[in-house]
Each structure stands twice: as C-alpha cells, then as structure tokens.
C-alpha cells in the first residue's frame, strides 16, 4: 500500500514536470493555427501563419536562404568531421600512452569549454589570420568541424576498443595490404560508432547558434538560428514564427522519437 502511494506520487510528479516542459511547445503549436500571436482564437482557426511562411516577401526569402545555409553547413561539417574523426580515432588508438592522453584531453576541450569562449577564440584567431581564412563559409565550416569532431571521436573510440586486434592482423596474414585491412575490416566494424558520430555531428551543427553567430562575419550568411535571433529577438514573435517553430518542434521531436524507438527495438531484438 505504501509503495503504491509512493508510485502514484512519483508518477504525478513526473507528469507535472513533463507537462511544464512541453507546455510552451504545445501552446505555440496550438496557436500557430490562430493566425495571430496573441494566444487567442479571436480570428478563428486558420492556416494563415503557415501560408505566411511562403508569402512574406523578404522574410520568406531570408528564411529559405537561412535554411539553405544551415543545411549546407550541417552536411559539410558533419561529413568532414566524420571522415576526420574516423581516421584520427584509428590513429589515436595506436598512439603512445602519453601522446594519446594529451590528444584526448585536447579533444575534450571543445566539449567542456564554454561555447562563448570557444566562439570568441575562433573569431579572434580568424581575424588575426584573415588572409588565410576568408570570411564566410570557410570559417563557419572550420569552426563547426572543430566542435563536432570531438564527439565523433568519442563515439567511435569505445567501439574500436571493443574490436579484437587480431581481426586486423588476420587480414594482414591473409595477404591484405594495411590500407585495405583498414577499409575492409576495421571501418566496417566501426560503422555503428561512425553512424552515431555522424548523426551527433549533424545535429550539433544544425542546432548551433553561438559559434555561428560569432564567426559568420558580415558576408550576409545567416543560418536558421542566427536568422531567428536577428529577426525575432527585438520584435515580438510574429504569427509567421509560430508556424515555423511548430514545424521545427514536430519534425525534430518525431524524428528523434522514431530513431530512438527503432534503436530500442533493435536492442530488444538482440
């Protein structure tokens, strides 16, 4: 009996916190159909906010261009950091103890450091060497690779540690060249780690605001998050943004839920 009360209390508490966490999201989605930003259905149920995404002139164009840059940046940064991360993890694994430790510590720096400090340091660095690093995508891709690759390395390393070292040696004994052994034996074994590292890098890059904001320069490049910041920070939130945010919420939350449900099912099947 006592346990049952405890459980009811626990579930009530969990439900309350969950409700609070999702309330803002829920309200935005509901009132994205009101066509206004006053949180009332005075004008009735409409899709006007969603139509406004495509019919707001300059705003629509800016949003589209921000979406384009966000995707270009996320794809290039995550591909580069996955390739870089994969090979360097294999390399790091075979480094001497001391050098390995130092490399892994430095690798952790972008993860533990405050984002503002990392963003500022890259900004000052690029400014100092501006003749090598032109403003714009070059700087953005480098800085995104810099904060994504550590996560790729750390998602592949545990997998590599699980690998039987004899697998590589066996490939060599069977006459494979070292490079072929890496591509045909080691990398296929690492694939689950590589995939989750890639997904991580892609999400992090997509989600980034601070580092992009400091390093975008004044070439007019905006990503979704910097454009949202420029446009919605000063004014109050227009109905247009209600619709955009709702799409975001629904896409991201369902995508992550589906991925995780699938992952759980796979684990359960094992």
């Amino acid at each position: 009996m006592k346990n049952k009360i405890g459980r009811i209390f626990a579930d009530g508490y969990l439900g309350l916190i969950l409700a609070l966490m999702y309330l803002p999201i829920f309200l935005i989605i509901v009132f994205s159909f009101s066509g206004s930003s006053r949180f009332s259905f005075a004008d009735g149920f409409t899709f006007n906010s969603y139509k406004a995404i495509f019919t707001s002139g300059a705003q629509s164009a800016n949003l589209l261009s921000a979406l384009k840059y966000t995707l270009i940046l996320a794809v290039s940064a995550s591909v580069i950091s996955t390739v870089l991360g994969t090979f360097s993890t294999i390399g790091i694994y075979y480094l001497g103890r001391k050098v390995k430790k130092i490399t892994l510590t430095v690798n952790q720096l972008p993860m533990i450091n405050s984002e503002v400090v990392m963003a500022v340091s890259l900004m000052v660095f690029f400014a100092a060497f501006s003749f090598i690093f032109p403003q714009g995508m070059t700087r953005l891709i480098i800085s995104h690779v810099a904060f994504c690759t550590p996560y790729v390395v750390l998602s592949i390393l545990p997998r590599l540690q699980q690998m039987d070292p004899n697998m590589y040696e066996a490939a060599l004994d069977l006459g494979s060249s070292p490079l072929a052994a890496i591509f045909k034996v080691v990398i296929p074994f690492l694939t689950p780690g590589i995939v989750s590292g890639f997904a991580m890098a892609f999400t992090l890059s997509l989600d980034d605001f601070i580092i992009t904001q400091f390093n975008k320069g004044d070439t007019g490049i905006e990503t979704l998050s910097t454009y949202i910041y420029e446009d919605a920070r000063v004014k109050s939130l227009e109905p247009f943004w209600f619709a955009v945010f709702s799409i975001f919420f629904v896409v991201i939350l369902t995508l992550l839920l589906l991925i995780n449900i699938r992952k759980n099912k796979k684990e359960a099947a094992k």
Partner: protein, 265 residues
C-alpha cells in the same frame, strides 16, 4: 619488422587531426589568453585585469550576477531534476521512451524555446525581468541536469539498496545514506553541465529581460562586438571563464567515472 612499419602507419592517421586541434582549438585559446595581457598599444600590461577587477566597466558586477543566477539555476535544476531522475530510475527503468521524453527538449534549438516562452510571458502580461530569466534558464537546462543524474542512478547496483534495507534502514535513510552518495558523480556532472552554460549563456537573459539584464556571456559578446571592440577586457573575461571551466572539470574528473553523458542519447 613488418609489424613495426604498420604500427607507424596507423598512428599517422591521427596526425592531421592533431594538427587541426592545435591550430583551431589550442592556438585560438592561447591568442585570447595573450590578448588578456596586451594593452591597446600592443604592449604587455595588466591594465585589462585591473580594469576588470576594479569593476571600472561593471564587468565584475556582471560576473557576480552571473555566478548568482548560475548557482540558483543549478540549484533549482538539481532540486527539480533529482526526484525526476530518481523516480525514473526507480519506477520506469525499463521504459527508455519515457526517459527520452525528459531529454528531448534539449535537441530543440534553445532560441526557439526561449522565444516561445517569451511570447507566452508577454501574452500573459508577465513583466520581463529576473524572474522570467530564471524560469527560462531552468526550463532550458533541466534536461542537462536530468540526463547525467539518470545515467548514474540507473547504474547503481540495486543490491546496495537491498542491503541497506535489510540492515534496517528506513526509506529516507536509504535515500540519504546510500543512493545519494552513490550518485555523487552524476550530481557533479549534472551541476557542471548546467552551471557552465548557465553562467556563460548568451541570448537567454537578453531575450527574457528585453536586454535589461546582462550576463557574463552577453558581456563577453559585447566586448568583442564591433561597436565596443575592447578585446583586452573581453579576453580577461574569457580567461576567467576558462578558469571556472577548468575548476569545474577537475572537480568532475575527481568524482566521475568518465561517462559520456551527451552521447548517451
């Protein structure tokens, strides 16, 4: 002979990334640190530190405010988040999706979440200020507190708890003397994951106070922006921030078993 050659070639895969890290992680930080000791004329000086610590431009006050807000945010997150993580581990350990629901919001861009809460506050006619900032911060960082706590709490060997019960401890004593100490590493990493971004956050306080209240991250941003362009003081502030980060992480590595918290998702 053959083997030695291969060892070398595999190690070499790490070299490009080591150069990359040196170039784009270490060197930029060193430049910021050097900037902290350079005056406007480019000479070695402690003026920036004097300017910051004498509070001439209000930097120290901002640091103080940020530390207080960061501390309160972290505390509230811990007080709200610990029961969440504990109940989840106790009653819903097998339901990963339920746990996931608590973590998911952190993958929605924080600007979107913050602007949404602002819109709601404004619709409700709630005055933007310290209260709304605190709400926004807790709302934002709660998942970062719950995740590491939950990871540690589910990994606690249940036999410890049973042993404590068998030895006559009541529920409260079990919680206080067994579960809590065993979850210390989770508490420390949850506190770090909340505290560091909370004190250095940029934009949350600006949005939720209509630019009235500035925190450390906002002022670092301000010092480095074109309008002010006072790199020296900004660099001192980055330096201070870096020291706080290092202290937090030393504390963490002392208690933690090095779990990869963020990649747990």
């Amino acid at each position: 002979m053959r083997k030695v050659k291969f060892r070398f070639s595999r190690k070499a895969f790490a070299y490009p990334y080591m150069i990359f890290l040196l170039l784009f992680v270490v060197v930029p930080l060193v430049i910021v640190l050097i900037n902290a000791f350079l005056g406007d004329d480019g000479k070695l000086t402690f003026d920036n530190f004097i300017e910051f610590f004498s509070d001439a431009s209000g930097g120290l006050t901002v640091l103080g405010n940020s530390l207080i807000i960061g501390l309160v945010t972290t505390l509230i997150c811990l007080v709200i988040g610990y029961p969440v993580a504990y109940f989840l581990a106790k009653y819903h350990a097998s339901s990963k999706i339920f746990v996931l629901l608590f973590i998911l919001p952190m993958w929605v861009n924080f600007l979107i979440r913050t602007l949404s809460t602002k819109a709601i506050f404004m619709a409700l006619d709630i005055k933007l200020g310290m209260g709304t900032i605190m709400f926004g911060m807790v709302y934002n960082y709660l998942p970062y507190m719950i995740l590491p706590l939950h990871t540690t709490l589910v990994s606690i060997d249940h036999s410890y708890i049973e042993a404590a019960e068998d030895l006559g401890a009541d529920r409260f004593t079990v919680l206080w003397k067994t579960v809590l100490p065993l979850s210390l590493s989770g508490i420390v990493s949850g506190v770090t994951m909340t505290f560091i971004p909370a004190i250095s956050t940029f934009a949350i306080s600006e949005i939720l106070s209509s630019s009235k209240i500035f925190l450390f991250g906002d002022s670092i941003n301000m010092y480095f922006s074109k309008a002010t362009n006072s790199l020296g003081v900004g660099s001192v502030m980055s330096f201070v921030m870096l020291i706080i980060v290092i202290i937090a992480n030393v504390l963490m590595s002392l208690t933690e078993k090095k779990e990869e918290v963020k990649s747990a998702l």
